[in-house]
């Protein structure tokens, strides 16, 4: 998907009273989101587990047959599946047991985006829709709070994926680092706009407390939501 180079964002602005209301709604939405995503992840956990059960049986048979080369291949497969299971479990635990609240601090947004990307890929797989994550080559730090950003990104990614009308459509989350700020852009075809717009107030309320800007733009190339964060150096 081509992302437009020049485009104008209209800032998603909320009044103080709306922020409070949105925060209340946001909490309920957040619980609902956690439940939905946890269900999907729990379902997906069965795949590496299943692969391990099957390949363990193959390994047993190869060892019995004295075929060391084939046995080693199965061990590699088992290692990969253990890693996948570990990553998924990690994401489930993060969702169910978020980090304790604290003030803004520097954290690697690329790592956070990768974690969100892992979950979004599972959501995409189950919904039979495409999801792509584009990260810069190096780790990028930003200043803010990790958990509100994680949930805002998850809410937006889920909305973008489930809003995609066709199986070949793809939602793209891209992290672009500038000298002073870092842009997180979620791009999707225009058809996903209504679903994404529905998720905007929740995301905005999660980010508003930290004064993080959230913008959205619709043009002939699609619908984009952008979050702009202050870059941190250490």
């Amino acid at each position: 998907m081509r992302v437009a180079q020049v485009w104008t964002f209209s800032r998603v602005a909320l009044s103080t009273s709306r922020i409070d209301l949105a925060a209340e709604q946001g909490l309920a939405e957040r619980f609902a989101l956690v439940r939905r995503i946890a269900d999907d992840l729990a379902h997906e956990l069965k795949n590496p587990l299943n692969a391990m059960v099957i390949n363990l049986e193959v390994l047993r048979s190869r060892v019995r047959a004295g075929d060391a080369g084939a046995a080693l291949e199965r061990i590699d497969v088992l290692e990969q599946e253990i890693r996948r299971l570990h990553d998924l479990l990690d994401q489930v635990l993060r969702l169910l047991r978020p980090e304790p609240a604290g003030g803004p601090a520097a954290f690697p947004v690329t790592v956070l985006a990768a974690e969100v990307g892992t979950i979004a890929a599972v959501l995409g797989k189950l919904a039979r829709r495409g999801f792509e994550l584009r990260l810069p080559g190096a780790e990028v730090l930003v200043l803010g709070r990790r958990e509100p950003l994680r949930f805002a990104l998850l809410a937006l990614c889920e909305a973008a994926i489930t809003g995609l009308p066709a199986e070949d459509d793809v939602a793209v989350l891209e992290v672009v680092a500038g000298s002073a700020e870092v842009q997180l852009t979620l791009a999707s075809p225009a058809a996903a706009a209504p679903r994404l717009q529905g998720a905007l107030p929740v995301a905005a309320s999660l980010l508003a407390e930290d004064g993080i800007a959230l913008g959205a733009a619709l043009d002939e190339t699609g619908y984009r939501v952008r979050i702009v964060l202050a870059r941190a150096t250490t």
Partner: protein, 447 residues
């Protein structure tokens, strides 16, 4: 063999590959597909006895793949593999004919136990389908002639029951060929080398029937100067056909039932129990329910005889068989009578096709035999057919409710043409058609 081929449809490569290796070790031929769409392509390219399909797959999920297979008439067995959250969908698939479902992570022992059963089911289904296809294409089966759907079903039942020892009760109007069915059952059974004995129960008075069935000892009654084996003994090691069984007197039915159940009996005037190994096929032209209600056929005897009930359709319900039979009888009687009648004249075949033939195949056969003998030219014309038919032609046409408009039109045109005794002009006038249209329709119907 196709029935030992398994297709694994799963987008998880490690799962698909691992399963493939395990099943190959067990001797199955296994292929894999990484999504439902690719699985569909493979199913179209080759035959698989079993598909193991993951419920959640890109392009086409397991349920969509299953639905598409059934829609296209592919009847490979399908086992759906599902996560716990989607079990309801898999159960629904089973209701629609999927073989089973398994939840992740797989219990491999259960999977390995299910696969041979699923493949066996597919093998049986395939064998039945092939048999059905073969039977449907047959215009001849034993001494029977006909390739209508109704007769294909009869052939299929004969094929299925012949190897067993089960009693068969054949119900059908007079002249439908009940004895031919009984002979076919005998010929296709393990008793084919044994005797086939037919006895018409309606043809004898009570005392004689008992004698015909069980035989007698010397001196059993006045005139019994020698011992005589009955039909039961004559059929030992073979098949006994009892035609018009509902005509048997009630007290003979009791004796017959006893002999049937114990496979032993005594001759009239005899003291010794005679053991026999026979299969009994009974036939009746009566409505069995009426015979039971009126007490003409004992309930217990009916249940003993009708282990396999077989209904033989009347000729009027056998679609295109009338024509096939007419042509076959023409060939047969040409040969027997040393004649060279080439075919049927205008109106004759149409008459044969639309007449109701209350005497069924026997009446048709007699009619053609007579026509061949009487034919004055090199074809059978309407007047050559039995005069009784022509004289009693009331100009009526019976069409079953549910007959398609196309078929009803065909029958109406043929019947009218026959009623008009092959006079094109008269038939066209009666039908309100042009002469050209009538000829075109007749050509279309009789080609």
């Amino acid at each position: 063999m196709a029935f030992a081929r398994v297709l694994i449809a799963d987008d998880e490569k490690h799962i698909a590959d691992g399963l493939q290796m395990l099943l190959q070790e067990d001797g199955y031929e296994v292929d894999t597909a990484t999504d439902g769409s690719k699985a569909w392509d493979k199913l179209q390219q080759g035959e698989f006895g079993l598909v193991l399909a993951d419920l959640k797959m890109p392009k086409l999920d397991g349920l969509e793949l299953f639905a598409k297979m059934r829609e296209a008439g592919l009847d490979s067995e399908v086992i759906i593999i599902t996560g716990k959250g989607t079990v309801d969908s898999a159960v629904e698939a089973m209701r629609n004919g999927a073989y089973d479902y398994l939840t992740k992570p797989l219990e491999l022992e259960r999977l390995k136990a299910l696969i041979p059963k699923a493949l066996e089911k597919y093998q049986v289904k395939t064998a039945n389908r092939e048999l059905q296809k073969r039977l449907e294409s047959l215009s001849r089966y034993g001494e029977m002639i006909g390739q209508s759907e109704e007769m294909a079903q009869v052939y299929s039942i004969i094929e299925a029951v012949a190897p067993s020892n089960a009693s068969v009760l054949i119900a059908g109007e007079s002249g439908t060929g009940k004895e031919l069915v009984a002979r076919a059952i005998h010929q296709k059974s393990g008793r084919a080398r044994g005797p086939f004995v037919a006895l018409n129960c309606g043809a004898f008075p009570r005392e004689i029937l008992e004698n015909e069935l069980f035989g007698h000892e010397k001196g059993a009654f006045t005139g019994a100067i020698n011992e005589k084996p009955g039909a039961f003994e004559q059929a030992d090691g073979g098949t006994l056909l009892l035609d018009e069984v509902a005509e048997m007197e009630p007290d003979i039915q009791v004796k017959f039932l006893r002999a049937l159940e114990q496979r032993s009996f005594r001759r009239l005037g005899g003291k010794k129990e005679i053991q026999v190994d026979i299969r009994v096929v009974a036939a009746t032209n009566k409505n069995v329910e009426d015979a039971l209600r009126d007490g003409k056929l004992r309930d217990d005897l009916y249940h003993r005889l009708a282990v396999i009930p077989l209904f033989l359709p009347p000729l009027r319900d056998r679609g295109g068989d009338v024509r096939i039979l007419a042509e076959e009888f023409l060939r047969r009687f040409n040969k027997e009578q040393d004649k060279s009648v080439a075919g049927f004249g205008p109106g004759a075949l149409e008459y044969i096709e639309t007449y109701r033939w209350p005497g069924n195949v026997r009446e048709l056969k007699n009619s053609i035999e007579r026509a061949v003998i009487l034919a004055r030219t090199d074809q059978i014309d309407l007047p050559d057919l039995q005069p009784r038919h022509l004289q009693s032609d009331d100009g009526e046409l019976h069409i079953q409710v549910g007959t398609s408009l196309e078929e009803a039109e065909r029958l109406l045109v043929l019947r009218t043409f026959a009623f008009a005794r092959g006079d094109h002009k008269r038939a066209a006038t009666m039908l309100g058609l042009t002469l050209k249209d009538l000829k075109a329709k007749l050509q279309q119907y009789t080609k």
